[in-house]
């Protein structure tokens, strides 16, 4: 009895987990579970069968597509992290004012819809597209390069879409790294390379791990970008599931394919977790001297990691030494400065890549042409007229803003406290719980949409904004939990203890100490949640039936025969609107700080 009470004790402190588990249990697990259960039944009956799973093995198609999906997601994660890290590092280590200005550019891709962004790449990267024309005009290439309708196109489109996610997640962790630590290493004789790779980089690892996880799992669900930018060989498993649900009405088999995806993704998550990621995030095993029980995979990973980082550090230092020998510099300048220059150049190139479609969309919105094309024919306001003259467009915009704000708010309210518990409390089954919280991102949205439709019909939520908000919150919670967990990992709890010892109540400590310190992590989490809802199409369609339309849905409906520049105009308006909101918020915050 007392043993049981002892085992349950951590759970008493873990009560903030209850809302998130309850919410996902009711709005996600219950409806989706019912739908996935069809995969074990004979069609239209309740007779158990393995037929649908057997079919997965009779054709090698499904495993091939699964492998393609995993490979694509893994490469996309690699590019998003490698490209995002320098930008995140620059943002985290520069002045606050400069950071806020750069952040607006990093966030640009968020505010243009998937559809518009993808069409922007189609026009930029095509055979007669802007990039090929410039390359040929500059004499760099003779014939157009195949930048699109192949793996390259998919990688450009997907890593562009997901890099802001990676950057924001990493920045929120990097901001909390004590800048004195690399300096301490330097005073102990470490050169820049060693100080960075052996001190800074390991400290930023929770951010890298969280970003990698979020990007990878989000990428698994991509299908529009690979379909529009890829070629014959770029088929994603979500596309197969959608075909089964929509075109073949074979929900049982769709369920079986979804289970295949879910199980594979969770296996990947398990090994990822053991190797470097979430267990460091969840604070179960700490640094290499952590002591106590350590799993062998993590031990090996840590061992390899240590050697590798040392090696990279040495290489960097060697390069910088060689560089210094070759290019003598005035004695009063520091090594740090030229590495800063390199960092700056790389980061600006990547930010340029992130902003490229936007630079393209804004001029296109003023074209007289009826297609999204480059170069645009100036100058016409007709696409803005089409937007402002249509009550449907306006209503859709407002509705999307309201729904996205509400669902992001809800996801923060439920998700953030859960993240605190997952990082700070020692409870059993943490990995399993995290896997459960992540699973709404793995299950294809079409499955969630169909499941929610049946569930909502029973509880009277069809056609309501509430239904839409709840559905979008399901998708947003994983982003919130992982992002907040990542930022809390580096948080020095002694600050809270200090506040407590000075007489602050836990609530006051939270409000005056913890929240201000992890502010950027919370903002990033909110943004992810917001944008998840703001760009969501499938659930919106099923829940609303299209009557009270949202912005993404209105865009897709409008683009039935062709993608016309109204979509570019809409994106430009949103871009301007949201940038103004961000600048205004920043201005107000700065004023209040000055005061």
């Amino acid at each position: 009895m007392s043993a049981l009470a002892q085992r349950l004790r951590p759970w008493r402190a873990a009560w903030p987990l209850i809302p998130v588990l309850l919410f996902l249990g009711v709005v996600f697990l219950y409806p989706v579970g019912q739908l996935l259960m069809l995969s074990g039944l004979e069609k239209g009956t309740s007779v158990l069968t393995l037929a649908h799973y057997e079919r997965l093995f009779t054709s090698n198609l499904y495993f091939r597509v699964l492998v393609i999906t995993l490979e694509t997601s893994a490469w996309c994660t690699f590019f998003a992290i490698v490209g995002g890290y320098p930008v995140a590092y620059l943002l985290a280590t520069t002045s606050e004012r400069r950071r806020n200005n750069l952040m607006i550019w990093v966030l640009l891709p968020f505010w243009t819809s998937f559809l518009v962004r993808t069409f922007a790449w189609i026009v930029l990267l095509g055979r007669n597209g802007a990039i090929n024309k410039w390359l040929q005009a500059l004499g760099l290439t003779d014939a157009p390069l195949a930048l699109i309708y192949n793996f390259t196109g998919v990688m450009i489109g997907m890593s562009h879409a997901l890099m802001p996610l990676a950057i924001l997640t990493m920045v929120s962790v990097m901001e909390n790294i004590d800048a004195n630590l690399p300096r301490a290493a330097a005073t102990l004789g470490a050169r820049g390379g060693q100080a960075f790779w052996r001190i800074y980089f390991p400290l930023s690892l929770p951010g890298v791990a969280a970003a990698g996880l979020l990007v990878f799992i989000t990428a698994l669900g991509f299908f529009i970008t690979p379909a529009l930018l890829g070629g014959r060989l770029q088929t994603m498993i979500t596309q197969i599931i959608i075909t089964q649900v929509q075109e073949l009405l074979n929900w049982a088999f769709a369920g079986a394919v979804s289970m295949l995806l879910l199980v594979t993704a969770l296996i990947v998550f398990y090994f990822y977790d053991r190797a470097l990621g979430m267990s460091t995030l969840a604070g179960e095993t700490t640094t290499s001297q952590g002591g106590g029980r350590r799993n062998p995979i993590a031990a090996i990973a840590a061992w390899i990691g240590d050697i590798l980082l040392g090696l990279i550090g040495r290489i960097c230092d060697a390069v910088s030494i060689v560089y210094e020998r070759l290019v003598p510099r005035p004695a009063d300048r520091l090594t740090r400065q030229w590495s800063r220059t390199v960092l700056g150049v790389v980061a600006f190139l990547i930010i340029g890549f992130l902003a490229a479609p936007t630079f393209f969309i804004v001029p296109v919105s003023f074209t007289t042409d009826a297609f999204i094309e480059w170069p645009p024919k100036f100058y016409s306001m007709r696409w803005y007229d089409a937007y402002f003259d249509s009550p449907i467009w306006m209503a859709a915009t407002v509705r999307s803003l309201v729904v996205a704000t509400a669902s992001a708010g809800l996801a923060m309210l439920i998700g953030a406290p859960a993240a605190f518990v997952l990082v700070r409390q020692r409870i059993m089954g943490k990995t399993a719980m995290l896997a459960f919280i992540l699973s709404p991102l793995i299950i294809p949205r079409i499955i969630i949409a169909v499941a929610l439709f049946y569930f909502y019909a029973r509880v009277g939520l069809i056609g309501t904004s509430i239904g839409l908000i709840l559905g979008h919150a399901v998708l947003a919670i994983p982003y919130v939990v992982v992002t907040v967990m990542a930022v809390l990992k580096n948080y020095d709890e002694r600050l809270d203890q200090a506040a407590g010892s000075l007489g602050a109540t836990p609530l006051r400590t939270l409000w005056h100490i913890t929240i201000p310190l992890i502010r950027s992590g919370l903002v990033a989490a909110f943004l992810f949640a917001f944008i998840t809802s703001f760009d969501e199409l499938t659930i919106a369609l099923f829940v609303s039936g299209g009557l009270a339309t949202t912005l993404p849905k209105q865009m897709w409906d409008d683009a039935l025969l062709k993608v016309n520049p109204t979509l570019a105009a809409v994106s430009t308006i949103l871009l301007v609107f949201i940038t103004i909101v961000i600048l205004l918020a920043e201005y107000l915050r700065r004023r209040s700080v000055v005061r």
Partner: protein, 362 residues
């Protein structure tokens, strides 16, 4: 210019529009109650259409006049490509966000094959009787014909224009970048026609033969398209020189004066028509709508928005010749047309899709 303009940054916005913005906000915020009111109100039906120019076309052709004629308000709502799963959900749970829908014949077959998800029409008017038998069933009253064909860039094929399906396969005489659909529908038929199978002996489709034929140009296909809007973009920018698509997609490019031409020879047609969702309490009002909508003169009205062919024989009396020539049911275009067999596909879609997807990856 009597309109008062308000200057916001670089954007010039009319005052009327700001009022509309305010109005839009109100609609958005009260949307759920708006919907509930809508479903509770007696004389209103919700009619699904495929969106885009259809919405504007149907508003002009049907919705406005239907209210005037009958007092019943029909609300057009855009729903995504082949909304069969949503309709299944509506019937299963008796949650009718839509009462009726314009569906493709294939979607109709599938919903019936799956288990009776449509209501029997039981409507009879002289207009419906005058409609050809291949445009209607007990559950489906044809509205328009769309067709799968190919279009090419005339600036690329100057003086040597492709004319048959076989020409797509003829890389030697018709060099150029090709674009096919990443989907077995139509693509299989096209391969068989190119291989010399006569139009009336297409079905049941010889899948191995079709895939073997497709092998011949597998490496030549520059782009595999997945969505209709993509094909119009590809043709417009000249990314590809020959592209299979649906006629309205190519037409929208031609209407923008791009050097593009449609090949009507042996085009593969299918139809879309009105279906009532089974169990809707407003089935009788939907029947009124169908009686109203199946009418030559009214069908003629949407043809200036969407270049698909009206099913009613009288419609062409009301369509100017210039527009009529663009439509699939224009006699000249329909002459060699072949009906895509929705029944065959209904039975074999699952298996053939799997074979086709495997072929793509091999």
């Amino acid at each position: 210019m009597t309109k008062k303009l308000t200057r916001i940054g670089n954007l010039v916005i009319g005052r009327r529009r700001i009022l509309q913005l305010a109005g839009g906000t109100t609609i958005a915020l009260t949307a759920p109650s708006y919907w509930r009111k809508l479903s509770a109100q007696e004389k209103r039906i919700v009619v699904r259409d495929p969106g885009g120019p259809y919405s504007a076309g149907f508003q002009e052709a049907f919705h406005t006049d239907f209210k005037k004629a009958t007092g019943i308000e029909s609300v057009g709502v855009a729903g995504q490509h082949e909304p069969t799963s949503l309709i299944k959900g509506m019937v299963d749970t008796k949650s009718y966000t839509w009462d009726m829908a314009l569906l493709s014949r294939a979607a109709h077959d599938q919903l019936l094959g799956e288990g009776n998800y449509l209501e029997k029409l039981n409507v009879d008017t002289p207009s419906i009787r005058a409609t050809a038998a291949h445009f209607k069933t007990d559950f489906f009253a044809g509205n328009n014909v769309f067709t799968a064909m190919y279009a090419f860039r005339t600036d690329h094929f100057k003086g040597n224009e492709p004319k048959t399906w076989a020409d797509i396969w003829n890389v030697k005489d018709f060099p150029g970048r090709r674009c096919l659909r990443k989907h077995p529908f139509d693509t299989i038929e096209m391969a068989l026609l190119a291989d010399g199978v006569p139009g009336d002996k297409l079905y049941p489709l010889d899948i191995p033969r079709a895939l073997k034929k497709l092998d011949q140009i597998k490496k030549e296909v520059a782009v595999w398209w997945t969505g209709g809007a993509q094909t119009s973009q590809l043709l417009k920018t000249g990314e590809v020189d020959i592209c299979t698509t649906w006629n309205a997609r190519a037409q929208t490019v031609i209407d923008e004066n791009a050097p593009v031409k449609i090949v009507w020879n042996q085009n593969l047609w299918s139809s879309e028509g009105w279906c009532i969702i089974r169990g809707t309490p407003k089935a009788d009002m939907c029947r009124e709508f169908i009686k109203f909508a199946v009418d030559g003169e009214r069908q003629a009205k949407w043809t200036k928005h969407v270049s698909y062919g009206p099913t009613h024989p009288d419609a062409f009396k009301y369509i100017p010749e210039a527009t009529a020539k663009k439509l699939p049911t224009y006699p000249e275009n329909f002459k060699t047309a072949i009906q895509a067999d929705a029944v065959y596909w209904g039975k074999n879609k699952d298996k053939v899709t799997e074979q086709f997807e495997s072929w793509l990856l091999s």
